[in-house]
Structures are given as structure tokens and as C-alpha cells.
């Protein structure tokens, strides 16, 4: 035990000495958190849209006004001389809307008339939203024109958005980014500190003292757990005001899972550090594996269900996947223990697995040739 503490204290001293790494550990996650939370979003606003009004009647102008009233669009007229698809080709607009001639007359005569929406579907998700918006805005227009007055829909859907009524993207992405940051930086520090001992040969000093592999690794784990907890507190303190989060239910599962998750992260770092004995390569490995997997296979941005089954199984090995469930539950859904009891269990298992492999690699505490 004394040796574990000695090891941990040494690691912490080193972390505080190394300014660049300390800045990296504490500052960069905050910057990235803000960046990810604010910049990654699929809720488009102010999309450039061009409208070609071939009717030029009060009704068509009313239709354009309806478009302009929507926050989603930034509407510009398209001169008659231009073919609508050209606007898409030149990347001037995502959507080109053509109001047909005789628009008003058709409306007045109760004939069905079609407004053409030419959507640049390069970005499938945005195109999907455009498609939904086209329906909604046209309905809206009809209502405004009192054209729907007599008709009552038989079934009225009363749709309520739970947990995140404003459907703010940053609450969703922010809670995920929080987990991704913790999947990246603690392992990075732990991996660097472990591979550095090999690179600078200080590991020999450790080998000749009779410290055991588990003591050595636990000492390092302990130290980087402390750093990780500090990181967690900082991230939490910035994420809450930044994304307007608040606890939706009991925070207990979050706290417990956090400990398990940080252990997982740090153990993963130790694992990388013991396998790769060159700092630059260790950074690259951590970056590629931890960041990429947590970014892509954790349900951070897009649902895990969308991942093809051939790849989806990997996501079960990605700790961030579980932790994201907990953060979203704690801050948005509020399901409590019943919803997330399995998370700390899975995380503890994964963490122990990583730790075990690192231990197997180190256990002889000798140079391997």
C-alpha cells in the first residue's frame, strides 16, 4: 500500500510539473467540450433558400412570407432568368422553391396546386428535415389563408417532446461530448506516463526496486484517477451552464458510474502505455482507438441502432457507450437506477479487463527481449 501511494504521488508530481500536458489535460477538454457541444448539431437554422415566384400574386407573396417567418430558412428571391437547379449547383441554396403560375387561381378554385421544392439531398439528414418542413410550412400557409377553415382533421396529434422539450441539440450532444472527453484525456495522460518510463528507461529503476506489477499499475491508476476526477469536476462545472443542464433525477447512478468509467478510461491508458513503448505512438494509438470509437460507436451523435450489425458489436466494448446512457439519463431523462443499473457493472467489468491485460503485460517486471 505504501508503495502504491508512493507511486501515485510521484505520478501526480510529474503531472503538475509538465505544463504542456497539464494544459492539455485540463484546458483542452473544456475547449473541445464547448466546440463539440456547440458546433456539432444537426438542427439546421438559417438555411439559404431561393424562391422563384412565377405567380406574383398576394397568395404567392403570402407563401413566401410564411417561409420567411420560419427560423429554419433564409429566403432570397431567384430571378426568373435562372433555372432553379442552377442555384443548387452553385451552392447558393439548399432548397429552390418554385411557386407555379396560376397559384392563386388554383387556390381560389379549390384545385390542387403543387409548389415545387427542389432539395439538395447531398446532406441526407438536412434533406429529411427539409421534407418534413415543406409539409409543415405548407399546412401553416393554408391555415393562415383560412383555406383550411372548414376542414377539421379527424385525428389531431398532440405531440409532446419529453425530457428536452426545446429539442435543444446541445443538450444531447453536450452530454455525449462530456463522456467523449473523459474517454480521451485521462487515458492519454496515463498512456503517456506509462510509455514514458519505458522510453526514458526510468522503468529500470522500478524493476530493480521490488515493487510488484499490481502495485505499480495501481499507483499509476490512482494518480490518474485523481487527475480524471479533477477533469470530471471541471467538465461538469462548465457543461452545466454551457448547455443549460440540470439533474433530472437522482445523481447517485451518475456518481457511481463516473468512478467506474474513469477507472475504465485510466486502465485503458495503462494498457496502451504498457503495450506501446514510445510516447508518440502511444498518443496516436489512444487518439485513434479511444477517440474514434467513443466518437462513432457510442451513440454520441447518431443512434447506435443505425450502426450496421457487423460493426455494432464493437460498441459493447466501448465504455463511452455506457457512460453516455448515464449522463443522458441523469441530466435529461431521469430514469434513475432502474434505467441504468447495468452501467456501473459493465464499466467495472470493462475496466477490470483492461487492467488485467495491462497487468499480464507487466507482471514479470523485467525487460523483455
Amino acid at each position: 500500500m505504501r508503495r502504491i501511494i508512493a507511486q501515485a504521488r510521484k505520478e501526480l508530481t510529474q503531472v503538475f510539473r509538465d505544463r504542456l500536458t497539464l494544459a492539455l489535460a485540463l484546458l483542452l477538454p473544456l475547449v473541445l467540450l464547448a466546440l463539440l457541444g456547440k458546433a456539432i448539431s444537426l438542427s439546421v437554422t438559417n438555411i439559404p433558400v431561393v424562391v422563384q415566384d412565377l405567380d406574383r400574386t398576394p397568395s404567392s407573396r403570402r407563401y413566401i412570407e410564411t417561409l420567411q417567418a420560419s427560423l429554419t430558412f433564409r429566403v432570397a428571391p431567384l430571378p426568373l432568368s435562372t433555372q432553379p437547379p442552377e442555384a443548387l449547383e452553385r451552392n447558393e441554396a439548399y432548397v429552390a422553391i418554385v411557386i407555379p403560375p396560376q397559384f392563386e387561381r388554383s387556390l381560389q378554385r379549390d384545385r390542387e396546386t403543387e409548389v415545387q421544392w427542389l432539395v439538395d439531398a447531398t446532406d441526407a439528414n438536412t434533406a429529411n428535415i427539409m421534407r418534413a418542413t415543406s409539409v409543415a410550412l405548407t399546412q401553416d400557409f393554408l391555415t393562415r389563408m383560412n383555406l383550411m377553415a372548414g376542414v377539421q382533421p379527424a385525428i389531431r396529434a398532440e405531440i409532446r417532446f419529453w425530457y428536452n422539450p426545446g429539442r435543444e441539440s446541445e443538450k444531447h450532444i453536450g452530454t455525449g461530448a462530456f463522456a467523449v472527453m473523459l474517454a480521451l484525456f485521462p487515458p492519454l495522460l496515463a498512456a503517456l506516463a506509462t510509455s514514458r518510463e519505458d522510453e526514458q528507461k526510468t522503468i529500470l529503476q522500478v524493476y530493480v526496486s521490488s515493487i510488484s506489477a499490481q502495485e505499480y499499475l495501481l499507483g499509476k491508476a490512482l494518480a490518474f484517477m485523481c487527475v480524471a476526477i479533477a477533469e470530471w469536476v471541471l467538465l461538469l462545472a462548465s457543461a452545466i451552464p454551457l448547455f443549460g443542464l440540470r439533474f433530472a433525477g437522482t445523481p447517485a447512478p451518475l456518481f457511481l458510474s463516473t468512478m467506474a468509467y474513469l477507472f475504465c478510461s485510466v486502465s485503458f491508458g495503462l494498457l496502451v502505455g504498457t503495450l506501446i513503448r514510445n510516447q508518440a505512438a502511444a498518443i496516436q494509438a489512444t487518439q485513434t482507438v479511444a477517440f474514434l470509437l467513443s466518437f462513432l460507436l457510442s451513440g454520441f451523435i447518431f443512434p447506435i441502432a443505425n450502426i450496421p450489425t457487423s460493426v455494432r458489436w464493437i460498441s459493447h466494448l466501448v465504455p463511452a457507450r455506457y457512460y453516455i446512457e448515464v449522463t443522458r439519463d441523469a441530466f435529461l431523462r431521469g430514469g434513475g437506477w432502474a434505467a441504468v443499473w447495468h452501467v456501473p457493472v459493465m464499466l467495472a467489468l470493462l475496466g477490470s479487463l483492461f487492467f488485467l491485460i495491462a497487468w499480464l503485460r507487466m507482471r514479470r517486471m523485467q525487460m523483455d527481449v
Binding site: L20, L35, K38, I40, S41, L42, V44, P85, E89, R90, N91, F103, E112, E114, V115, Q116, W117, V119, A121, T122, D123, A124, N125, A127, N128, M130, R131, A132, V135, T138, F141, L142, L147, V151, Q152, P153, A154, R156, A157, I159, R160, F161, W162, N164, R167, S169, K171, H172, Q284, Q287, T288, L292, N306, I307, R328, R333, G334, G335, A339, V340
Partner: protein, 386 residues
């Protein structure tokens, strides 16, 4: 005399160039990082980043228990967007399941559903959507409205159940409908969006990391002094360092394009040559960033860490993965300084829209400008350090 001098210069540049090439050949990590991360990134992003909303788990509380309510539920089911996960007896039970994250949406059909329909009165059904994922919720909500509207329409127009309604009020065609035509990517495949974007991200990311590592290695090993004592000019040294990297990295363009074409079926409708040429510009910009990083660092490890400060903002604020229009207003103009943003637009336009230089020249010139500034600034700094 002049002849021999020229001979010397060429021989020198050749020697430097060969040396770099041989070092790269031996550097297994470099070769790996030229192949593995691009392949991995393209595959993972292409497969995993799929925002399509389908198979949403729907929970139902059917207090009506009538054929009409069952028709409503099956309308949801038939849409393909929702799958009915299970039925609940009370709204409490439903909301508990939503809380637990077992469901994405819940539908509550009131007990008077059939009766009111029969009477021709409007009925309200409640739909709860888990809006934690706002994008999914928005799209799910849109789908639900459309499903209910369609059913509603059908009921008012055709259903024998609503004959009375029809009689009371002659049906009237909705007078205006949007007709949506999807251009360029009618299959709405999200991988088509991601992969051209990733191409730019990769060229910058890989270019900068590989360049920084190569540039800094000589400093780290201390051989740079030996090199400086040779008659080689600093510009020759830098040229010889950049040229092989440039050649190798340009292979990444083909790598990504072939994966895109053969695995994801992404077409290149415009000029392949223009795409490659702009890709080279992008590569050069990446090398410029890497060289710049190398001038700030002493070891490969520091260079890698510096990469962390530079690369995420470049790839996130580029519109390569998510649309620029989804970023906060104040950030959007800044993205114009990002070479990845311009390249993403160029790549997508060439690949999907088949347009050429005549429409893309503003972005091409912007990319060219950024690249020139980056590469000349970084070379200037690097030279000063030599």
C-alpha cells in the same frame, strides 16, 4: 563552371530526396499511418455516422381497444419508421418505460377514440417523444404528424366509418401541396454526405500529423545540425522533405475515393482531375499545418499533442461531418478560413453535382489562397529555425 555548379545542385537535391524516401520506406509507423487511419476513418464514419431515423421503439397505451385504434397503431407500424415495442395498460407504465430509456416514443389512444370518430368529432391522441436526441425527435415528430395526417385524410375521405362526415361536409381537396424533389442523393444516403467531407478532413489531419512527425524527427534526433553543415540550402532541405510526403499523401486521395466508389457506391459525376487537383491543394495545406506545428515543438510527442489543439477545430468547424448551417451564427463566417470547409464543398459539388471550375472557382481560389498562405508562412518559419 556554371555547368558543374548546376550539376552539384541537382545532385544535392537528389541526394536529399532519396534520403527522405528511404527514411519513409523504413518508417513503418508512417506507412501505417498513411493507410490505416484513412481506411478506418472512412469505413467507420461511412457506416456508423448514420442519422437516419427508423425502427423507433414505440410503446402504446390503447384505452380504446377498437378496430379503429388498432388501425391507428398499425399505421405507425406500416410506416417503417416506428416499430411497436409493447403495449402498456396505463400512461404511468408507459412513462416509466420512457424514463428507463426502453422506448423512443409513446402513443396514448383515448378510450373514446372510436366513438368520437364515429360521431365525426375530432379526437386527440397523445404522442410522447423522447427528445433527448433532438434531431431524432424532430424527425420522429415530423413522421408522426404525417402518419396521423395521412390516416386522418383517409378516414375523412374514404373510410365507411366517416360517411356521416362526408355527407355533412363535402370533402375538399387540400388546395396546396409541396412536391419535394430530392436532387443529387435521392436515396438520402448519409454516407454520401460524410465520405466526401471525410476526404478533406483526412487530407488535413493525416497531412499535418505525418508532416509534423517527419519535420520534427530530424530536430529530435539531432541530425538536423549535421544536415545544416552540408552545403545544402535550407530551401533545398525543405523541398526535399515536403516533396515525398506530398507524393505519398496524394495516394490517400485515391485510397479514399476508391473506398467511396467501391464500398459505398459514391459516384464522381464531375471532373476527376479537378477533384484530384483540389485534393492536392488540400494535402499541401495539411503539410503546411504540420510544418507549422513542427516549428513550435521539439519532439514528436509534443507535435502529436499540438495536433490535438489544431485538428479537432479544423475538422469540426468545416461542415464535413455536420452542416455548417447547424452551427451557431457567429461561428459560421469563421469557417470560411478553414481549408476543409472549402474542400468539402468542392468535393461534394464535383462528386454529386458534376459541376466544374466555372461554378466552383470562388471556393477553389479560397482554398488556393489559404494553402499558399499556410505553406509559405510555415516554410518561412521552418527555414528561420534551420
Amino acid at each position: 563552371m556554371r555547368k558543374t555548379l548546376q550539376d552539384f545542385t541537382n545532385q544535392r537535391l537528389w541526394a536529399l530526396f532519396m534520403k527522405e524516401l528511404q527514411q519513409i520506406r523504413r518508417n513503418r509507423r508512417l506507412v501505417i499511418s498513411l493507410i490505416v487511419p484513412p481506411t478506418l476513418l472512412v469505413f467507420l464514419f461511412g457506416f456508423a455516422l448514420n442519422p437516419q431515423v427508423r425502427n423507433l421503439r414505440l410503446g402504446v397505451v390503447d384505452d380504446s381497444h377498437t378496430p379503429e385504434s388498432r388501425e391507428l397503431v398499425s399505421a405507425f407500424f406500416e410506416s417503417g419508421v416506428f416499430q411497436v415495442e409493447s403495449y402498456y395498460t396505463s400512461s404511468d407504465a408507459l412513462s416509466r418505460a420512457l424514463d428507463a430509456g426502453d422506448l423512443d416514443a409513446g402513443l396514448i389512444v383515448p378510450s373514446n377514440f372510436a366513438k368520437r370518430l364515429a360521431r365525426g368529432e375530432a379526437v386527440d391522441v397523445q404522442l410522447f417523444v423522447d427528445a433527448v436526441d433532438s434531431n431524432k425527435a424532430t424527425i420522429a415528430g415530423g413522421y408522426a404528424s404525417r402518419i396521423i395526417a395521412a390516416l386522418s385524410d383517409r378516414l375523412t375521405q374514404a373510410s365507411p366509418l366517416t360517411v356521416s362526415i362526408k355527407r355533412a361536409q363535402p370533402p375538399r381537396a387540400r388546395s396546396a401541396v409541396p412536391r419535394v424533389a430530392l436532387f443529387y442523393n435521392p436515396g438520402l444516403r448519409s454516407d454520401w454526405f460524410i465520405i466526401p467531407g471525410m476526404l478533406g478532413v483526412l487530407l488535413i489531419l493525416n497531412g499535418s500529423l505525418v508532416a509534423a512527425a517527419t519535420m520534427v524527427r530530424e530536430k529530435e534526433a539531432g541530425t538536423v545540425e549535421q544536415l545544416l553543415m552540408t552545403p545544402a540550402e535550407s530551401l533545398e532541405i525543405i523541398t526535399a522533405k515536403i516533396a515525398p510526403l506530398f507524393l505519398l499523401l496524394s495516394l490517400d486521395i485515391w485510397l479514399v475515393l476508391s473506398i467511396g466508389y467501391f464500398v459505398f457506391g459514391i459516384p464522381v459525376r464531375g471532373s476527376l482531375l479537378l477533384l484530384f487537383a483540389t485534393g492536392l491543394l488540400c494535402t499541401l495545406a495539411g503539410i503546411g499545418i504540420g510544418t507549422l506545428i513542427a516549428t513550435f515543438t521539439k519532439t514528436q510527442q509534443q507535435a502529436q499533442l499540438m495536433g490535438f489543439f489544431v485538428n479537432p477545430p479544423l475538422s469540426l468547424l468545416s461542415g464535413a461531418m455536420t452542416p455548417v448551417e447547424a452551427m451557431p451564427q457567429w461561428l459560421r463566417p469563421l469557417t470560411n478560413l478553414n481549408p476543409v470547409r472549402h474542400f468539402a464543398i468542392i468535393a461534394r459539388s464535383i462528386m454529386f453535382k458534376g459541376v466544374g471550375f466555372e461554378t466552383l472557382y470562388p471556393h477553389i481560389f479560397a482554398l488556393l489562397g489559404i494553402t499558399l498562405v499556410l505553406i509559405s508562412f510555415s516554410v518561412w518559419r521552418f527555414r528561420k529555425q534551420l
